[in-house]
Structures are given as C-alpha cells and as structure tokens.
C-alpha cells in the first residue's frame, strides 16, 4: 500500500530524516515510535507531501507520489490527522467535515459514519470548531480524516488531549477500521496502546530507523530502553 524508500527531508538546510524506509501493507497497522524530536512528525509530513522530500521515494498503491501535491495524495486515498488539534477554526464542526467531504467528492454516508464513530460531536455540529475544547477538536480532526474513507489513514498522536473513555473508543474504532482492511500508519507515545494495536512498529532515533519489528519484539527490554531518554 505505502512504500517509503530512503526518504530524506528537513527544514531549510537542517536535515531531519536520513534515509528512512518503511512499508505499510494493505490492512496493516504500523506504529512509529520514538522520543520527542526524533522526526516522527517530519516523517509523516513528508509522506503526506506537506514537506518536500529531498531524497528518496514515496509510493502509494503502486504509484510514485513523491512529487505529488498533498491534495492529490488525498484523492488517491491517503488521509492525515496532523499532530495537535488541527481544525478550520471559523467553520462549524459540520463545515469542517463537509469541506473535506466535498474536496474528495465522497458520499454523504461517509459523514454519517464518521459521526457514528464520534457521537459526541453530534450535539456540537453547529459550533465553530475554534471554540471547541482541545479534546473535542482532536475528535473532530480524526472524524475529518475518516470522511474521506481513506485506504491509508495516517495519525500523529491521535489520542493526545482526549479523555480516557474516548481513547478507548478511538482505539476500538482504529481496530475496527484496521480489521475492515484499512491500512494505518500511527505515531503514538502510549506504549500500551501501540502494543495492543500494531502489527508492526518502527523506532526512530535522530532521523534514522533504529529498530523495527513485530509487537512481540517491542516487549523486549532492549526495545523499551531505546524509547527511554
């Protein structure tokens, strides 16, 4: 589904990623882990085309998308929930969902579906997204990605700022989507959550993949050490 090879990227002249390779098979859930500042967000941004790749290749569904603008990648079936409560603040909650739906010409049912996953958004539909609480915004952000009915869902710390009971629901939702065949690329700091969800994981450090393997590997002490400061 997604294949990344020798990816390099960064900001201006500061390089952050040094030849990252990874792949996500259809229906697979891959979790990227690593300490703060190692380049997880940079990796996802580059995969989505928010940042240009300075070297390497990103392919999606067999197509080379390395030079494609973000919106074309969305059209191909990639969806992205960026880190940190990203919304269109002056659009209503419904407007936030609609605008995404219209941009990818999805069916109205996709919107209903997304709202089923996040029922707490329903009473808020008319409110401006900018006035929502942090956690409400984050729920909206995930719902917004879901309305595109993506083939690959990319999530950057989706549970950040969300109350425990909803984290459970999100986890279940991801599990469900994953089970229904959606590929997922997830960045997550909660180790336990990652362990429960991931088929495979990678650990980044200083812009390199320093470890990758299955969930079983991650339980090992050595791996845990890699994640510690």
């Amino acid at each position: 589904m997604l294949s990344v090879q020798g990816l390099e990227s960064g900001y201006g002249r500061a390089r952050v990623l040094f030849g990252i390779s990874l792949s996500v098979e259809p229906g697979e859930l891959v979790c990227v882990m690593g300490r703060n500042g190692v380049g997880k967000t940079t990796l996802l941004d580059t995969v989505m085309g928010v940042l240009p790749a300075t070297a390497g290749m990103v392919a999606f569904a067999g197509e080379d998308v390395t030079r494609l603008p973000s919106h074309r990648r969305v059209a191909l079936g990639m969806a992205y929930v960026p880190q940190g409560h990203a919304t269109f603040p002056q659009l209503s909650v419904l407007g936030n969902l609609l605008v995404t739906l219209e941009a990818c010409r999805g069916p109205r049912e996709a919107l209903e579906e997304a709202l089923e996953t996040f029922p707490r958004l329903k009473p808020l539909l008319k409110r401006s997204a900018g006035f929502l609480s942090g956690g409400q915004q984050q729920q909206l952000a995930i719902a917004r990605a879901l309305v595109t009915r993506p083939r690959l869902l990319i999530l950057d710390e989706p549970t950040e700022g969300i109350q425990p009971s909803i984290v459970i629901e999100i986890e279940e939702a991801i599990e469900r989507l994953h089970a229904s065949g959606m590929a997922v690329l997830l960045v997550e700091q909660y180790l336990e959550l990652a362990l429960r969800l991931a088929d495979r994981f990678l650990i980044l450090d200083a812009g390199h993949v320093v470890h990758s393997g299955t969930a079983a590997d991650l339980r090992q002490e050595e791996t845990r050490r890699l994640l510690a400061v």
Partner: protein, 288 residues
C-alpha cells in the same frame, strides 16, 4: 428634519458605493489577508472597460459592462495572483508593497493607453432623473450593491467553493492535507475579489471621473470599511459601509467635506476603542 430626510438617501448611496468597492476586498483582504493596493486599479480597469464597451454597445453599455468588467478585472487579479501574490501567503502584510508597485505600473499603463485626461462614460437615458433627492443612478448602484452582497453571501456560505475558500484561509496546511487544491482556491478567491472591483468600477462611471487615478480616490475608505466591519465579515462590511456612508453625509452636511473626513476618522478610532476587531469579530480561542 428636512435635512435629515434629504441626507438619508445620500448617506445610503455613499454607503452603497463604499460597500461595492469593499466587497472585493472582503475576498482578497478579508479572506486572504492580502492588502491589495492594486484593488483601486482593478476598479479603474472596470471603469475603462465600460468606456471601451460604450462604443460597441451604446447606451446599454453599463449593463453589458458589468459581467465583462468582472471578467477583465478578475483576470488581471488572477495574473497578479499567479505571478506574484502566491509567493507571499503567510505574510500578507508584505503584499501591500508588491501590490503598491503593481498599482503604480497599472496607473501609468492606463495613462499611456487611454491618455492622462479623464474619459467620458455616458449614463444611459433610463438612468437619468430620479425620485426626490435620490437619482436613478444612485438607486442603480444601491440595487447593484444589494444584489452583489446577496451573491457573495450565498457564495461564501452556501457553496462548496465558498467553504473551501474559507478553509484555505483559516488553515492552509490542513486544507491541503484535507484534499483541497489550495492553489486553485487562491486563484479563484483572487479572481472573484478582483472581479468585484471591476463591477464597482463600472458603477463608479455613473457618478465620478474615469481616469488613471480613479482607484486612488476610493481605496483608503474602502479599506476602512473592511476594518471597521471586521476582517472577513460580510455582515460587518455591510453595516460599516452604511454607517460610514451616513456618517459622511451627515457630517458633511453639518460641517464641510474636509471636516467630515476628519470626523469620520475620529469616530472610527473611538469605535475601535469599543470594538477593537471591528463590528463583527470572527473570534477564536487560540492565541494569535
């Protein structure tokens, strides 16, 4: 009392002119944050379009000119956006300088193309005359302003394009990863905003001079309207335009035109004391 009644339509019609000019700005300035100093020259382009068309279409020129001027000025805006403005997103205030340069060039261009003196656009016969102190041409501008406002409102709030436009302006990066072609949206926004300037230009031929410096006469007031109304707020622009129009007309009646301008300024400063972000603020919880 008689003065009060007589000045009312004048104030409203000044407001209508201001609104018509400011409407284009609610797109380029209000939505995109671009302080487009060339907006005045797009107005001028609209006026010259009406001038050129009157030989072809005779006295219906004003009507025919409206859509043509929209397209002409819109196209000019589109070119400006493609060649220059698009490098400036994220630092909108800087566009002021760029567009200021463009405005100088366009003024000089008009001078070379049409000559320095004013040209004449004949008002059609059916716009001659009026009811009481309200001439038909003023009425025409008033109706045109109303229709344009309604159109703009519907576009922004009732169409997907309008929604996408707002999304891009509120969070460009998120819009892109939500599948919106931000480049297209920028072009469209600028096209429409500039096109509306063209429409205003046609209307202005009915009441004012048509010359290379036409745009410069209205630009400061138009920006004031947008600011007093609140950036990006359509309702605010409408109310502010009406308010400024009335204030202008009454202040001028009881003092003189020069003093009226000073009074208007003082009132706006005072007003921003009460409502610092304009009449209708698009608030947000986030820190700037």
């Amino acid at each position: 009392m008689e003065a009060f009644v007589n000045q009312l339509p004048i104030g409203i019609s000044i407001g209508a002119v201001l609104l018509l000019i400011a409407l284009g700005l609610t797109f380029t300035f209000g939505q995109m944050g671009v302080i487009n100093m060339a907006h005045g020259e797009f107005i001028m382009a609209g006026a010259y379009t009406a001038y050129l068309l009157q030989d072809l279409t005779g006295r219906m020129a004003v009507i025919v000119a409206l859509p043509v001027a929209f397209a002409v000025a819109g196209l000019m805006g589109l070119i400006l956006e493609r060649t220059a403005i698009r490098h400036f997103y994220g630092r909108p205030l800087d566009t002021l300088l760029l567009t200021w340069g463009v405005s100088l060039v366009l003024q000089q261009l008009a001078r070379d193309l049409f000559g320095a003196p004013n040209v004449q656009v004949q008002a059609p016969a059916w716009l001659q005359g009026g009811i009481g102190t309200l001439p038909y041409n003023r009425l025409f501008i008033f109706v045109l302003a109303l229709l344009t406002v309604a159109g703009v409102w519907a576009y922004l709030n009732r169409t997907g394009q309008g929604r996408r436009m707002q999304a891009v302006m509120q969070n460009r990066g998120l819009a892109a990863v939500s599948g919106i072609d931000t480049g297209r949206v920028d072009q469209r926004t600028f096209f429409i905003g500039s096109g509306l300037a063209g429409v205003a230009g046609v209307a202005l031929t009915l009441i004012g001079p048509v010359g290379p410096t036409l745009g410069t006469y209205y630009i400061v007031d138009a920006f004031l309207v947008v600011v007093a109304g609140g950036l990006g707020s359509l309702l605010g622009a409408v109310v502010a335009a009406a308010g400024l129009g009335l204030l202008n007309s009454y202040a001028e009646f009881w003092s003189d035109a020069s003093l009226a301008k000073v009074i208007v300024f003082a009132v706006i400063v005072a007003f921003l004391q009460v409502r610092p972000q304009g009449l209708f603020v698009l608030r947000s919880r986030a820190l700037s």
